[in-house]
Symmetry: C2
């Protein structure tokens, strides 16, 4: 067993850690200079690596976007300005002379949960993250699904209503347009207007505080979760119909909201999936939190011939 470095490069934060025997031994978390172009950001990644380099044998990096894992190239990242066809593995290999592997960030999270967390022992899993955006990743028949271009699992931009409102991606009626963090807040803002909801006391609403008030009994906050749970349930129904997983893992901040989130999702899925009673799909929260991406990236780099 060796030490490996796992890095999760997001549009907001870079989380890096050194992993030994499936545990994050030490880690750091810095703000991503996402707007400053690839050179600055690559320097941030290099500094993070340097901190843990002393005994690492391999480095794995999860990045949001279209990642060509085979060739180590970031084809395109919607959250990192100017990243197009960046040969990241080659650049870092030249500098550090170690094994460098890169993959999509949600694939890294799923890999982490699959090997060490909520997905252990399962062969058909779909994981999605609830946050600003809605990412997804799948394990099918015991294999992580990359797809033809490393662009599988775009759950957030699946269409749940072709007549729906316009999404930032230019498409209409995407799941993300209903349950991305900003739209959860928007929904709450609309609902509190004609109410005496406790949510009115917040200067800045977030999905987290809406979840907290819902748990404490605020009716409007509960309504918000009932509605977004329904939308998520529609999206999840499509996944269950298509992938027939035994396990759906929900990751990201509000996945910890508990029953107020999971109940409307499960209820919708039970109604909307064909042959639901023959399937027995479990819908559960992720286990590893922020460590999932670090562990998954490190695992990806440490295992020979993974992809």
């Amino acid at each position: 067993m060796k030490y490996t470095i796992g890095i999760d490069v997001g549009g907001t934060n870079i989380k890096a850690g050194i992993v030994y025997k499936g545990r994050v031994v030490d880690k750091l978390d810095i703000e991503t200079y996402a707007e400053d172009g690839p050179e600055i950001c690559i320097n941030q990644i290099k500094s993070a690596i340097k901190k843990f380099l002393y005994k690492a044998s391999a480095i794995g990096i999860g990045i949001a976007g279209i990642i060509d894992s085979k060739n180590g190239v970031v084809r395109y990242s919607p959250n990192l300005r100017g990243w197009q066809d960046i040969k990241l593995a080659q650049i870092l290999k030249r500098r550090f002379k170690k094994t460098i592997k890169i993959l999509n960030d949600v694939n890294a999270i799923l890999l982490g949960e699959w090997v060490y967390g909520a997905g252990r022992g399962y062969k058909n899993i779909f994981l999605f993250t609830l946050g600003t955006g809605i990412g997804g990743a799948a394990v099918c028949e015991g294999r992580l699904v990359f797809g033809a271009n490393g662009f599988a699992g775009e759950f957030g931009h699946t269409i749940i209503n072709f007549n729906g409102p316009e999404c930032l991606c230019g498409n209409y009626g995407c799941l993300e347009r209903y349950v991305g963090a900003r739209y959860i807040v928007e929904l709450a803002q609309k609902k509190i207007k004609k109410s005496n909801s406790r949510l009115k006391k917040y200067r800045r609403l977030t999905p987290k505080c809406i979840a907290e008030e819902a748990k404490m009994g605020d009716c409007v906050a509960q309504e918000v979760f009932k509605e977004i749970g329904y939308y998520i349930g529609i999206g999840v129904s499509n996944i269950v119909n298509l992938f027939d997983p035994e396990l759906m893992i929900i990751s990201g901040g509000i996945s910890r909201a508990g029953r107020i989130l999971f109940e409307p999702i499960r209820k919708t899925v039970a109604k909307r999936v064909i042959g639901h009673k023959y399937r027995g799909v479990k819908i559960i929260p992720a286990k590893l939190g922020d460590n999932a991406g670090i562990l998954g990236s490190a695992y990806f780099a440490g295992v020979r011939n993974f992809a």
Copy 2:
């Protein structure tokens, strides 16, 4: 190379053939007594097998429904009355003393097209059939996807509009509710009312005759295809977003309609898929027609340790 029997058991017809070196050497096509219960229908399957048994070493059977391929059990079939937990492989093995393998019918069609037809050499494929119902099946990372319960690929019952009309399955806004054969005909009937369309001359409209009139220039028939192509395109966009296949294969009768069908699908996909320009997904018709299910089932039975 050996002779194998491939059988495609549908709700309307049973198609059986003897396969040698990837070619259907001889075949038969009989009407399914789907309403008469499993015993009668199993006898039909037995008769079909007997016709080709003389030199067959293995028998593969594709059946619509939830198929437990590992244990050879038909868990449930929506098109065959009374089929619940039928140990088909065991029943036939007892009678014929040969290797018997069963799988979902659309999986068999995809397997046929993958090994011998339109999908040769690809590693990420999604195939769907357009007919009375809309079935689907996937190859991910070089493996046929069965899912946890042998129930993956239910494309027809993915939701494209959660506010949509009720489907026969009890759900709302399923793709099948928009583009299943009967709904294509319904759409045409609605559209011809206030027109001088040539479709009015038909006593019984079918998707096939609508396609023919569309090709010959009938505006209403063309509008019908434009609209159903849009709906299919929405469904296909979701598949491309989730599976990132290099190839989408459309199978079933009206997949031969050509440009009038494929153009609106491709146009919708180009608009609706995130990162479409980075993907290069091809959308093409199936190649093998009715033989795909026979070839795929036979292949499934003939290859050791497939699943």
